[in-house]
Point group: C2
Chain length 205, copies 2
Protein backbone atom coordinates (compact mmCIF):
# COMPACT_ATOMS: atom_id res chain seq x y z
CA UNK A 1 0.00 0.00 0.00
CA UNK A 2 3.04 2.26 0.26
CA UNK A 3 3.73 4.65 -2.54
CA UNK A 4 7.33 3.62 -3.18
CA UNK A 5 9.00 0.34 -3.75
CA UNK A 6 6.54 -0.74 -6.41
CA UNK A 7 7.32 -0.73 -10.07
CA UNK A 8 4.61 1.74 -10.71
CA UNK A 9 3.99 3.29 -7.36
CA UNK A 10 0.40 2.43 -6.71
CA UNK A 11 -1.06 1.06 -9.88
CA UNK A 12 -4.28 -0.13 -8.30
CA UNK A 13 -5.36 3.37 -7.39
CA UNK A 14 -3.95 4.82 -10.60
CA UNK A 15 -6.22 2.45 -12.52
CA UNK A 16 -9.23 3.47 -10.49
CA UNK A 17 -8.45 7.13 -11.11
CA UNK A 18 -8.00 6.56 -14.83
CA UNK A 19 -11.26 4.62 -14.97
CA UNK A 20 -13.10 7.39 -13.15
CA UNK A 21 -11.75 10.01 -15.53
CA UNK A 22 -12.83 7.89 -18.49
CA UNK A 23 -16.31 7.27 -17.15
CA UNK A 24 -16.74 10.94 -16.43
CA UNK A 25 -15.59 11.88 -19.91
CA UNK A 26 -17.30 9.26 -22.05
CA UNK A 27 -20.04 7.89 -19.87
CA UNK A 28 -20.12 4.46 -18.30
CA UNK A 29 -20.79 2.90 -21.71
CA UNK A 30 -17.62 4.30 -23.20
CA UNK A 31 -15.47 2.93 -20.44
CA UNK A 32 -12.89 0.37 -21.49
CA UNK A 33 -10.47 -1.70 -19.48
CA UNK A 34 -7.82 -1.26 -22.15
CA UNK A 35 -8.22 2.48 -22.24
CA UNK A 36 -8.10 2.73 -18.47
CA UNK A 37 -4.83 0.80 -18.57
CA UNK A 38 -3.49 3.15 -21.18
CA UNK A 39 -4.56 6.08 -19.07
CA UNK A 40 -2.48 4.71 -16.21
CA UNK A 41 0.47 4.22 -18.57
CA UNK A 42 0.34 0.48 -18.45
CA UNK A 43 -0.45 -2.59 -20.53
CA UNK A 44 -4.02 -3.98 -20.35
CA UNK A 45 -2.66 -7.24 -18.96
CA UNK A 46 -1.24 -5.41 -15.96
CA UNK A 47 -4.77 -4.66 -14.80
CA UNK A 48 -5.21 -8.33 -13.95
CA UNK A 49 -2.57 -8.09 -11.23
CA UNK A 50 -4.99 -5.91 -9.29
CA UNK A 51 -8.51 -6.67 -10.47
CA UNK A 52 -10.40 -9.75 -11.49
CA UNK A 53 -11.54 -8.01 -14.66
CA UNK A 54 -13.43 -5.15 -16.11
CA UNK A 55 -16.46 -5.34 -13.82
CA UNK A 56 -14.29 -5.63 -10.76
CA UNK A 57 -12.57 -2.37 -11.68
CA UNK A 58 -15.89 -0.57 -12.12
CA UNK A 59 -17.08 -2.03 -8.83
CA UNK A 60 -14.06 -0.59 -7.03
CA UNK A 61 -14.85 2.82 -8.52
CA UNK A 62 -18.37 2.54 -7.16
CA UNK A 63 -17.10 1.37 -3.77
CA UNK A 64 -14.88 4.42 -3.45
CA UNK A 65 -17.80 6.54 -4.60
CA UNK A 66 -20.08 5.20 -1.89
CA UNK A 67 -17.37 5.86 0.66
CA UNK A 68 -17.00 9.51 -0.31
CA UNK A 69 -20.75 9.81 -0.64
CA UNK A 70 -21.48 8.43 2.82
CA UNK A 71 -18.76 10.53 4.40
CA UNK A 72 -20.08 13.69 2.75
CA UNK A 73 -23.62 12.95 3.81
CA UNK A 74 -22.58 12.10 7.31
CA UNK A 75 -20.52 15.25 7.57
CA UNK A 76 -23.32 17.43 6.20
CA UNK A 77 -25.77 15.89 8.61
CA UNK A 78 -23.57 16.30 11.68
CA UNK A 79 -22.61 19.80 10.67
CA UNK A 80 -26.23 20.91 10.50
CA UNK A 81 -26.88 19.79 14.07
CA UNK A 82 -28.39 20.49 16.51
CA UNK A 83 -31.26 21.57 14.24
CA UNK A 84 -32.57 18.37 12.68
CA UNK A 85 -34.19 20.35 9.93
CA UNK A 86 -31.04 22.23 8.96
CA UNK A 87 -29.12 18.98 9.11
CA UNK A 88 -31.55 17.31 6.78
CA UNK A 89 -31.54 20.11 4.27
CA UNK A 90 -27.76 20.14 4.28
CA UNK A 91 -27.88 16.46 3.44
CA UNK A 92 -30.05 17.15 0.43
CA UNK A 93 -27.68 19.81 -0.84
CA UNK A 94 -24.74 17.49 -0.25
CA UNK A 95 -26.33 14.89 -2.50
CA UNK A 96 -26.37 17.22 -5.46
CA UNK A 97 -22.93 18.55 -4.64
CA UNK A 98 -21.58 15.03 -4.69
CA UNK A 99 -23.11 14.29 -8.07
CA UNK A 100 -21.55 17.48 -9.42
CA UNK A 101 -18.12 17.13 -7.90
CA UNK A 102 -17.66 13.40 -8.44
CA UNK A 103 -19.48 12.64 -11.69
CA UNK A 104 -17.29 9.63 -12.44
CA UNK A 105 -18.04 8.10 -9.08
CA UNK A 106 -21.72 8.94 -9.40
CA UNK A 107 -21.98 7.29 -12.81
CA UNK A 108 -20.08 4.23 -11.61
CA UNK A 109 -22.47 3.94 -8.69
CA UNK A 110 -25.77 4.54 -10.43
CA UNK A 111 -25.41 4.48 -14.19
CA UNK A 112 -22.83 1.85 -14.98
CA UNK A 113 -25.37 -0.92 -14.93
CA UNK A 114 -23.34 -2.75 -12.32
CA UNK A 115 -25.22 -4.68 -9.66
CA UNK A 116 -24.71 -3.45 -6.13
CA UNK A 117 -24.22 -7.08 -5.24
CA UNK A 118 -21.29 -7.43 -7.62
CA UNK A 119 -18.92 -7.42 -4.64
CA UNK A 120 -19.41 -7.76 -0.90
CA UNK A 121 -17.54 -4.47 -0.54
CA UNK A 122 -19.91 -2.77 -2.94
CA UNK A 123 -22.98 -4.13 -1.21
CA UNK A 124 -21.58 -2.92 2.11
CA UNK A 125 -20.83 0.52 0.68
CA UNK A 126 -24.33 0.90 -0.73
CA UNK A 127 -25.85 -0.30 2.52
CA UNK A 128 -23.85 2.20 4.53
CA UNK A 129 -25.00 5.06 2.30
CA UNK A 130 -28.54 3.90 2.82
CA UNK A 131 -28.07 3.88 6.56
CA UNK A 132 -26.67 7.39 6.69
CA UNK A 133 -29.68 8.73 4.81
CA UNK A 134 -32.12 6.82 6.96
CA UNK A 135 -30.50 8.07 10.10
CA UNK A 136 -30.97 11.65 8.93
CA UNK A 137 -34.60 10.94 8.15
CA UNK A 138 -35.07 9.23 11.49
CA UNK A 139 -33.73 12.20 13.40
CA UNK A 140 -35.98 14.57 11.54
CA UNK A 141 -39.07 12.42 11.91
CA UNK A 142 -38.85 12.78 15.69
CA UNK A 143 -40.42 16.19 15.16
CA UNK A 144 -43.54 14.75 13.57
CA UNK A 145 -46.42 13.69 15.77
CA UNK A 146 -46.17 9.93 16.18
CA UNK A 147 -49.52 9.07 14.66
CA UNK A 148 -48.88 10.84 11.38
CA UNK A 149 -45.22 9.95 11.14
CA UNK A 150 -44.25 7.99 8.04
CA UNK A 151 -41.53 5.36 8.39
CA UNK A 152 -38.09 6.91 8.19
CA UNK A 153 -37.09 4.50 5.45
CA UNK A 154 -39.91 5.75 3.24
CA UNK A 155 -39.15 9.31 3.98
CA UNK A 156 -35.48 8.97 3.07
CA UNK A 157 -36.44 7.05 -0.05
CA UNK A 158 -38.58 9.98 -1.17
CA UNK A 159 -35.82 12.48 -0.77
CA UNK A 160 -33.27 10.19 -2.35
CA UNK A 161 -35.59 9.56 -5.28
CA UNK A 162 -36.23 13.22 -5.92
CA UNK A 163 -32.54 13.99 -5.64
CA UNK A 164 -31.59 11.21 -8.01
CA UNK A 165 -34.31 12.21 -10.44
CA UNK A 166 -33.15 15.81 -10.48
CA UNK A 167 -29.59 14.70 -11.14
CA UNK A 168 -30.55 12.34 -13.94
CA UNK A 169 -33.07 14.53 -15.67
CA UNK A 170 -31.81 18.04 -15.10
CA UNK A 171 -28.17 17.98 -14.09
CA UNK A 172 -26.80 16.09 -17.09
CA UNK A 173 -25.44 17.35 -20.39
CA UNK A 174 -28.07 17.98 -23.00
CA UNK A 175 -31.40 17.42 -21.25
CA UNK A 176 -30.25 19.97 -18.67
CA UNK A 177 -31.50 22.66 -20.99
CA UNK A 178 -34.97 21.24 -20.52
CA UNK A 179 -35.65 23.27 -17.41
CA UNK A 180 -35.30 26.99 -16.80
CA UNK A 181 -34.25 26.30 -13.20
CA UNK A 182 -30.89 25.24 -11.88
CA UNK A 183 -30.88 21.73 -10.46
CA UNK A 184 -29.91 23.16 -7.09
CA UNK A 185 -32.89 25.52 -6.96
CA UNK A 186 -35.15 22.81 -8.26
CA UNK A 187 -34.11 20.32 -5.60
CA UNK A 188 -34.10 22.80 -2.76
CA UNK A 189 -37.60 24.00 -3.60
CA UNK A 190 -38.82 20.45 -4.03
CA UNK A 191 -37.49 19.28 -0.70
CA UNK A 192 -38.90 22.39 0.92
CA UNK A 193 -42.39 21.67 -0.37
CA UNK A 194 -42.06 18.05 0.66
CA UNK A 195 -41.04 18.96 4.20
CA UNK A 196 -43.93 21.39 4.41
CA UNK A 197 -46.18 18.51 3.47
CA UNK A 198 -44.80 16.61 6.42
CA UNK A 199 -45.60 19.51 8.71
CA UNK A 200 -41.93 20.16 9.35
CA UNK A 201 -42.04 23.62 7.87
CA UNK A 202 -44.72 26.21 8.54
CA UNK A 203 -47.49 26.00 5.92
CA UNK A 204 -47.36 29.71 5.18
CA UNK A 205 -44.43 31.86 4.05
Amino acid sequence: MGKRGYHHGNLRQALVDAALALIQEKGPQGFTLSEAAKGAGVTPAAVYRHFAGRDDLIAECAVQGFEIFSDLMDYAFNNGQPSALAAFEATGRAYLAFARRYPGHYMAMFESGISHNQTPELAAGAARANLVLERAAEALSQHIPKDKRPPAAMFSAHVWSMSHGVVELYARGAPGARSPFSPEDLLEAGIGIYLRGLGLLPPDC
Copy 2:
Protein backbone atom coordinates in the same frame (compact mmCIF):
# COMPACT_ATOMS: atom_id res chain seq x y z
CA MET B 1 -46.22 0.93 -44.64
CA GLY B 2 -48.59 -1.88 -45.64
CA LYS B 3 -48.11 -5.28 -44.13
CA ARG B 4 -48.04 -7.27 -47.36
CA GLY B 5 -46.25 -6.90 -50.58
CA TYR B 6 -42.90 -6.44 -48.92
CA HIS B 7 -40.31 -9.12 -48.75
CA HIS B 8 -40.50 -9.20 -45.02
CA GLY B 9 -43.79 -7.55 -44.26
CA ASN B 10 -42.78 -4.60 -42.18
CA LEU B 11 -39.16 -5.00 -41.31
CA ARG B 12 -38.75 -1.50 -39.93
CA GLN B 13 -41.19 -2.12 -37.11
CA ALA B 14 -39.99 -5.69 -36.63
CA LEU B 15 -36.50 -4.31 -36.01
CA VAL B 16 -37.79 -1.79 -33.50
CA ASP B 17 -39.68 -4.54 -31.70
CA ALA B 18 -36.65 -6.82 -31.65
CA ALA B 19 -34.49 -3.97 -30.35
CA LEU B 20 -36.98 -3.21 -27.60
CA ALA B 21 -37.09 -6.83 -26.52
CA LEU B 22 -33.29 -6.93 -26.43
CA ILE B 23 -32.98 -3.72 -24.46
CA GLN B 24 -35.55 -4.93 -21.98
CA GLU B 25 -33.78 -8.24 -21.58
CA LYS B 26 -30.13 -7.22 -21.49
CA GLY B 27 -30.22 -3.56 -20.68
CA PRO B 28 -29.39 -0.74 -23.09
CA GLN B 29 -25.69 -1.66 -22.86
CA GLY B 30 -26.26 -5.17 -24.13
CA PHE B 31 -28.16 -4.00 -27.15
CA THR B 32 -26.59 -4.82 -30.49
CA LEU B 33 -27.59 -3.95 -34.00
CA SER B 34 -26.56 -7.39 -35.21
CA GLU B 35 -28.57 -9.16 -32.57
CA ALA B 36 -31.60 -7.02 -33.24
CA ALA B 37 -31.32 -8.00 -36.91
CA LYS B 38 -31.10 -11.64 -35.95
CA GLY B 39 -34.13 -11.21 -33.74
CA ALA B 40 -36.07 -9.96 -36.72
CA GLY B 41 -34.84 -12.88 -38.79
CA VAL B 42 -32.70 -10.80 -41.05
CA THR B 43 -29.09 -10.03 -41.96
CA PRO B 44 -27.41 -7.10 -40.16
CA ALA B 45 -26.95 -5.36 -43.47
CA ALA B 46 -30.70 -5.27 -44.00
CA VAL B 47 -31.01 -2.86 -41.10
CA TYR B 48 -29.40 -0.17 -43.21
CA ARG B 49 -32.35 -0.18 -45.58
CA HIS B 50 -34.42 1.32 -42.79
CA PHE B 51 -32.08 3.06 -40.35
CA ALA B 52 -28.98 5.16 -40.64
CA GLY B 53 -27.26 2.94 -38.09
CA ARG B 54 -27.30 1.67 -34.57
CA ASP B 55 -28.07 4.97 -32.85
CA ASP B 56 -30.83 5.74 -35.28
CA LEU B 57 -32.53 2.47 -34.38
CA ILE B 58 -32.32 3.22 -30.66
CA ALA B 59 -33.62 6.71 -31.32
CA GLU B 60 -36.67 5.29 -33.06
CA CYS B 61 -37.33 3.07 -30.04
CA ALA B 62 -37.20 6.14 -27.82
CA VAL B 63 -39.46 8.10 -30.18
CA GLN B 64 -42.11 5.41 -30.04
CA GLY B 65 -41.65 5.32 -26.28
CA PHE B 66 -42.30 9.03 -25.94
CA GLU B 67 -45.38 8.66 -28.09
CA ILE B 68 -46.88 5.95 -25.91
CA PHE B 69 -45.75 7.80 -22.80
CA SER B 70 -47.36 11.08 -23.81
CA ASP B 71 -50.55 9.37 -24.88
CA LEU B 72 -50.79 7.48 -21.59
CA MET B 73 -50.17 10.60 -19.58
CA ASP B 74 -52.61 12.59 -21.60
CA TYR B 75 -55.24 9.91 -21.26
CA ALA B 76 -54.71 9.57 -17.52
CA PHE B 77 -54.95 13.29 -17.10
CA ASN B 78 -58.14 13.69 -19.12
CA ASN B 79 -59.68 10.66 -17.46
CA GLY B 80 -59.18 12.13 -14.01
CA GLN B 81 -61.02 15.30 -14.94
CA PRO B 82 -62.89 17.32 -13.84
CA SER B 83 -61.01 17.07 -10.54
CA ALA B 84 -57.58 18.54 -11.23
CA LEU B 85 -56.21 16.75 -8.21
CA ALA B 86 -57.44 13.31 -9.25
CA ALA B 87 -56.18 13.96 -12.75
CA PHE B 88 -52.76 14.84 -11.45
CA GLU B 89 -52.48 11.81 -9.26
CA ALA B 90 -53.57 9.57 -12.10
CA THR B 91 -50.75 11.06 -14.12
CA GLY B 92 -48.26 10.09 -11.43
CA ARG B 93 -49.51 6.55 -11.34
CA ALA B 94 -49.43 6.39 -15.12
CA TYR B 95 -45.75 7.28 -15.07
CA LEU B 96 -44.86 4.26 -13.01
CA ALA B 97 -47.23 2.04 -14.94
CA PHE B 98 -45.50 3.07 -18.15
CA ALA B 99 -42.07 2.25 -16.75
CA ARG B 100 -43.35 -1.16 -15.70
CA ARG B 101 -45.26 -2.04 -18.82
CA TYR B 102 -42.80 -0.71 -21.35
CA PRO B 103 -39.38 -1.27 -19.80
CA GLY B 104 -37.66 -1.47 -23.19
CA HIS B 105 -39.10 1.87 -24.24
CA TYR B 106 -38.31 3.40 -20.88
CA MET B 107 -34.68 2.30 -21.02
CA ALA B 108 -34.34 3.51 -24.60
CA MET B 109 -35.70 6.88 -23.55
CA PHE B 110 -33.81 7.42 -20.33
CA GLU B 111 -31.02 4.92 -19.89
CA SER B 112 -29.62 4.27 -23.33
CA GLY B 113 -27.32 7.23 -23.14
CA ILE B 114 -28.79 8.61 -26.32
CA SER B 115 -29.16 12.37 -26.63
CA HIS B 116 -32.69 13.60 -26.96
CA ASN B 117 -31.36 15.77 -29.76
CA GLN B 118 -30.19 12.76 -31.72
CA THR B 119 -33.11 13.19 -34.10
CA PRO B 120 -35.63 15.97 -34.70
CA GLU B 121 -38.36 13.38 -34.14
CA LEU B 122 -36.85 12.41 -30.80
CA ALA B 123 -36.52 15.99 -29.67
CA ALA B 124 -40.13 16.60 -30.64
CA GLY B 125 -41.28 13.49 -28.78
CA ALA B 126 -39.46 14.48 -25.61
CA ALA B 127 -40.79 18.01 -25.85
CA ARG B 128 -44.35 16.78 -26.21
CA ALA B 129 -44.01 14.59 -23.13
CA ASN B 130 -42.72 17.59 -21.26
CA LEU B 131 -45.69 19.64 -22.38
CA VAL B 132 -48.23 17.05 -21.29
CA LEU B 133 -46.75 16.98 -17.80
CA GLU B 134 -46.58 20.74 -17.56
CA ARG B 135 -50.17 21.08 -18.65
CA ALA B 136 -51.23 18.75 -15.82
CA ALA B 137 -49.21 20.80 -13.36
CA GLU B 138 -50.62 24.02 -14.74
CA ALA B 139 -54.21 22.85 -14.29
CA LEU B 140 -53.53 21.80 -10.73
CA SER B 141 -51.71 24.97 -9.81
CA GLN B 142 -54.85 26.99 -10.51
CA HIS B 143 -56.01 25.80 -7.11
CA ILE B 144 -53.09 27.40 -5.32
CA PRO B 145 -53.36 31.03 -4.24
CA LYS B 146 -51.55 33.10 -6.82
CA ASP B 147 -48.94 34.58 -4.54
CA LYS B 148 -47.64 31.24 -3.29
CA ARG B 149 -47.98 29.39 -6.54
CA PRO B 150 -44.73 27.94 -7.86
CA PRO B 151 -44.21 27.94 -11.62
CA ALA B 152 -45.93 24.98 -13.23
CA ALA B 153 -42.70 23.97 -14.92
CA MET B 154 -40.97 23.60 -11.57
CA PHE B 155 -43.83 21.77 -10.09
CA SER B 156 -43.97 19.22 -12.89
CA ALA B 157 -40.19 18.86 -12.73
CA HIS B 158 -40.46 17.90 -9.07
CA VAL B 159 -43.00 15.21 -9.68
CA TRP B 160 -41.18 13.93 -12.75
CA SER B 161 -37.94 13.81 -10.78
CA MET B 162 -39.42 11.87 -7.91
CA SER B 163 -41.12 9.48 -10.28
CA HIS B 164 -37.96 8.91 -12.25
CA GLY B 165 -35.94 8.48 -9.09
CA VAL B 166 -38.34 5.90 -7.72
CA VAL B 167 -38.18 3.97 -10.97
CA GLU B 168 -34.40 4.03 -11.16
CA LEU B 169 -33.67 3.31 -7.53
CA TYR B 170 -36.53 1.10 -6.43
CA ALA B 171 -38.28 -0.39 -9.43
CA ARG B 172 -35.28 -2.07 -11.04
CA GLY B 173 -33.92 -5.58 -10.63
CA ALA B 174 -31.59 -5.99 -7.74
CA PRO B 175 -31.64 -2.64 -5.92
CA GLY B 176 -35.41 -3.00 -5.74
CA ALA B 177 -34.93 -5.13 -2.67
CA ARG B 178 -33.44 -2.11 -1.00
CA SER B 179 -36.77 -0.83 0.17
CA PRO B 180 -39.52 -2.59 2.09
CA PHE B 181 -42.14 -0.60 0.15
CA SER B 182 -43.45 -1.21 -3.32
CA PRO B 183 -42.47 1.48 -5.79
CA GLU B 184 -46.14 2.25 -6.31
CA ASP B 185 -46.78 2.86 -2.63
CA LEU B 186 -43.57 4.80 -2.34
CA LEU B 187 -44.41 7.12 -5.19
CA GLU B 188 -48.05 7.58 -4.22
CA ALA B 189 -47.13 8.50 -0.67
CA GLY B 190 -44.37 10.80 -1.85
CA ILE B 191 -46.58 12.70 -4.24
CA GLY B 192 -49.25 12.90 -1.55
CA ILE B 193 -46.87 14.51 0.89
CA TYR B 194 -45.62 16.84 -1.80
CA LEU B 195 -49.13 17.96 -2.72
CA ARG B 196 -49.92 18.52 0.93
CA GLY B 197 -46.88 20.76 1.04
CA LEU B 198 -48.39 22.77 -1.77
CA GLY B 199 -51.60 23.15 0.18
CA LEU B 200 -53.51 21.04 -2.32
CA LEU B 201 -54.38 18.38 0.19
CA PRO B 202 -55.68 19.00 3.70
CA PRO B 203 -52.80 19.07 6.20
CA ASP B 204 -54.41 16.54 8.48
CA CYS B 205 -55.62 12.99 7.77
